[in-house]
């Protein structure tokens, strides 16, 4: 857990839409925040170390890159095996996110969520079959939920509190 102070929050605000694409981006951020470039870099390192910054670099737009179909594959995996199965699914290069989440029985028996992106629904379904083969009998059932519409999409916003 990283507690952000007022300067960290200014850094978040200054980089919300990304780092400046200039030769000395941290110096640019430093000018915007009103501190030195060395301090900005020290804070970036600390935020990376503490996990407040998950990754630093290119954040791809799957849809624009041609991955027009987005299927949320959901799996009912025995609780004793779910972490092992999750790690195997998460290691697949076509799975962008893989999470364990609670079931809501009887409506929702699934406890493992793996997001699969590809050019078409057929291609997504073929990849889900690859996952099914990998998971084998550890999964009692699965489904794929395709997104049919993006209703809202925003970046991270922090208040000033």
């Amino acid at each position: 857990m990283t507690v952000l102070d007022a300067i960290d929050r200014k850094i978040v605000a200054a980089t919300e839409s990304g780092l400046p694409l200039v030769a000395e981006p941290y110096a640019d951020v430093a000018r915007a925040v009103g501190i030195g470039a060395d301090e900005v870099m020290a804070r970036f390192r600390a935020l990376l170390e503490g996990g407040a910054i998950r990754r630093l670099g290119a954040i791809p737009n799957h849809y624009a890159l041609g991955y027009k179909a987005n299927g949320m594959s959901v799996w009912d995996v025995d609780d004793a095996q779910v972490d092992e199965v999750g790690r195997r699914i998460g290691a697949l290069d076509f799975v962008s996110h893989c999470y364990r989440r609670p079931r809501h029985a009887p409506l929702w028996p699934y406890n493992l969520f793996a997001m699969v992106h590809d050019a078409s629904r057929e291609a997504v379904l073929a990849k889900v079959e690859t996952i099914a083969a990998l998971v084998g009998s550890a999964a009692r059932a699965h489904e794929v939920l395709f997104s049919t519409r993006i209703l809202k999409k925003t970046g991270l916003r922090l208040g000033s509190a």
């Binding site: 839409s17 910054i53 990754r55 609670p102 939920l145 997104s147």
Partner: protein
């Protein structure tokens, strides 16, 4: 988008240097000059291939909390309910999905105690059950583009 662009996207989804001239450093590893890497990243962000270039913040590690929630919304009320859900500033993403649970949204808050409040406010405003799917474990990898 050419092979160099794909190489950039694949190589730079993490680990961008924190140093005075990071594009020169990252470019050297890719066989690109500082100017060319910057020019290509500008083009990739302008074209929308990249959502952005920079830090991917983790709200949970910043003291906040994130959850995934879902609702089974009757077809005839879908737009009305979407408007109520989307109006919440804490709702970051909202997707319509083909399932009985047909509305899936991400709630991101600075104060973890607000999660329950946001979900119950949505339930109260719509009269529809809101199912909470908090993340219990994460198994993660980056997007890799075929060369």
């Amino acid at each position: 988008m050419d092979d160099v662009d794909r190489k950039i996207v694949n190589a730079l989804q993490g680990g961008f240097p924190v140093s005075p001239r990071p594009f020169a450093e990252a470019g050297a590893a890719l066989g690109l000059s500082e100017d060319e890497l910057i020019a290509r990243l500008r083009r990739l962000t302008t074209s929308g291939a990249l959502s952005r270039f920079g830090p991917l913040w983790n709200a949970e590690r910043m003291g906040g909390a994130v959850t995934l929630a879902a609702m089974a919304v009757p077809r005839e009320r879908f737009d009305e309910v979407a408007a109520i859900v989307n109006a919440k500033p804490e709702v970051a993403h909202n997707y319509e999905r083909a399932h009985a649970l047909n509305m899936w949204f991400v709630v991101s808050v600075e104060d973890p105690r607000r999660i329950g409040g946001v979900l119950s406010e949505i339930k109260a405003a719509t009269g529809i059950e809101v199912y909470d799917f908090p993340k219990l474990a994460e198994y993660f990898l980056e997007l890799k583009l075929a060369a």
